[in-house]
Assembly symmetry: C2
Homo-oligomer: 300 residues x 2
């Protein structure tokens, strides 16, 4: 039996994900705060729902793909929220990035219904090409139930009990944030000493410093093209969640705290809507030195 899906949140990520589910043959009811976006999926075979409650009434699986934790909270438990019509045998999958503690709280409030937290990495391109990395937390039976659905979206890994998907996403974001800092410092060090940062990046790509961040964000730094991608103010929120989640577990993470401080500096100096690779600009501002010629700088 192909399970009926309610897809709540038809945004930049949700729209291509919902399309891929429709293409894989899942009947799908779509809801979005801005109803135009949900209606745009009609030609692909979706039913457009007026509220989260309407979308969820007949659903076997409810997927949320929203901007942040508070949005998930409102769509699930708010006025006309999904929970008001949710069937007792339904499975809820939160694919948004929200705090691990919220995942555990929501699972509890769903009173025995299935729950997975399953945030993704890969961006809009990964979503469009069904190549998302899906990090899932929950019990193996719920994960098995979602397996065919996940396969239509990318590659899923069960990483532990409820909350673990969000923890994996935070781990991912922590590595990305800190590695951006590492690449910015390394390239500025080389350039300040007289080396050609573009050639340095090429030369070290083949060695142990190799990473997706060096490849993608390193190139952005060289080209001084900070069109997002992942904007800096989102990175600040991620870093805040990382540091708060660490604290709740009794952990102090010095590199993550450094990343939070520097991304906050970037936002404070006008870089909120630049790509997170613009951390380079904050490092340049702090040091009064630039990686290369080009107009992009933060205010002094």
């Amino acid at each position: 039996m192909t399970e009926r899906i309610a897809f709540l949140g038809i945004g930049l990520m949700g729209a291509p994900m919902a399309r891929n589910l429709l293409q894989a043959g899942f009947p799908l009811a779509a809801w979005n705060r801005d109803s135009v976006k949900a209606a745009a999926l009609k030609s692909a075979g979706a039913v457009s729902a007026a509220t989260p409650a309407d979308a969820s009434r007949d659903a076997d699986i409810v997927i949320t793909m929203l901007a942040n934790g508070p949005a998930v909270e409102a769509v699930m438990f708010g006025d006309q929220g999904a929970v008001t019509t949710l069937r007792p045998d339904a499975l809820v999958i939160d694919m948004s990035s929200s705090p691990p503690a919220m995942a555990r709280d929501h699972a509890k409030r769903l009173a025995g219904r299935g729950y997975l937290d399953a945030p993704v990495s890969g961006g809009t391109i990964g979503a469009a090409e069904a190549r998302l990395a899906i990090m899932a937390g929950g019990d193996p039976a719920s994960f098995a139930r979602a397996k065919r659905l996940f396969a239509a979206l990318g590659h899923a890994t069960l990483v532990g009990p409820i909350g673990s998907g969000q923890l994996a996403k935070l781990a991912n974001q922590a590595i990305v944030a800190i590695t951006i800092g590492a690449v910015a410092e390394a390239l500025l060090l080389a350039a300040a000493g007289g080396a050609d940062p573009a050639a340095v990046r090429e030369a070290i790509m083949g060695g142990f410093a190799e990473s997706r961040v060096l490849k993608v964000h390193g190139k952005r730094m060289i080209l001084r093209d900070f069109t997002p991608g992942g904007p800096a103010d989102h990175q600040v929120k991620d870093c805040e969640t990382i540091v708060a989640t660490a604290k709740a577990s009794g952990l102090t993470l010095p590199f993550a705290e450094q990343a939070l401080a520097m991304f906050r500096g970037l936002v404070a100096h006008g870089g909120a809507r630049l790509d997170h690779s613009a951390l380079l600009l904050e490092l340049e501002r702090m040091n009064g030195k630039k990686l290369g010629p080009g107009p992009e700088t933060l205010p002094a």
Copy 2:
């Protein structure tokens, strides 16, 4: 004409590099402080020299591959050093990792002879398989002269004027050191919250957090196998050179300074001869929490 090579420093890296040059058809005189190692290359066709001066007398190109800057200084300019017999048209290539300032100083003292600083990344396996990433600093004519030689050792990139090869190596080492910190923090964060760190590593390998460090050092952390590889005390020296070189250029690099502080902590708590991925143990010690079961810990 195939140029005659003097190879000074037949150690863990130098031995396989010299073998690859012999195999490529370069006549080669080998010198090592411990003469047994140079003699072992005789069967591969090398001439064994008694001193750096002897090795360099007939050489078109002198290569140094030594443990550190002071060793290069002694072998080039010390008693029986290469410079005492060096021909005026010779090219000196320092493939050791030494400070950028030393490269500039040595080039000056060679009084018009050719000079390249060309440190490598890739370790003993890269050396054996002729797959080293070679980061070269110097003028294009000297780089062109070394091109065929470098091709016998790996892939070379000219990254700027003299000193730039060493700057690129420092950039490489900075990224590696900081990314090790990022991976350690990310995995400990996930584990402390209840996720399975091995599954988390698998899940995020496909996304933007992907790196050689996550792949290789992340696996070492999961397995708690800290056999070097790159030992922590070398990493401290690299970080010291990074921070000192930054300072000389008027730069403050917060992530690199954090890496220096934590690697110093690892060494201070007994981890000097562990692989640099053992930074995890220092993070665990600071936090009183472990990533997983296993005997390896630093003293409290």
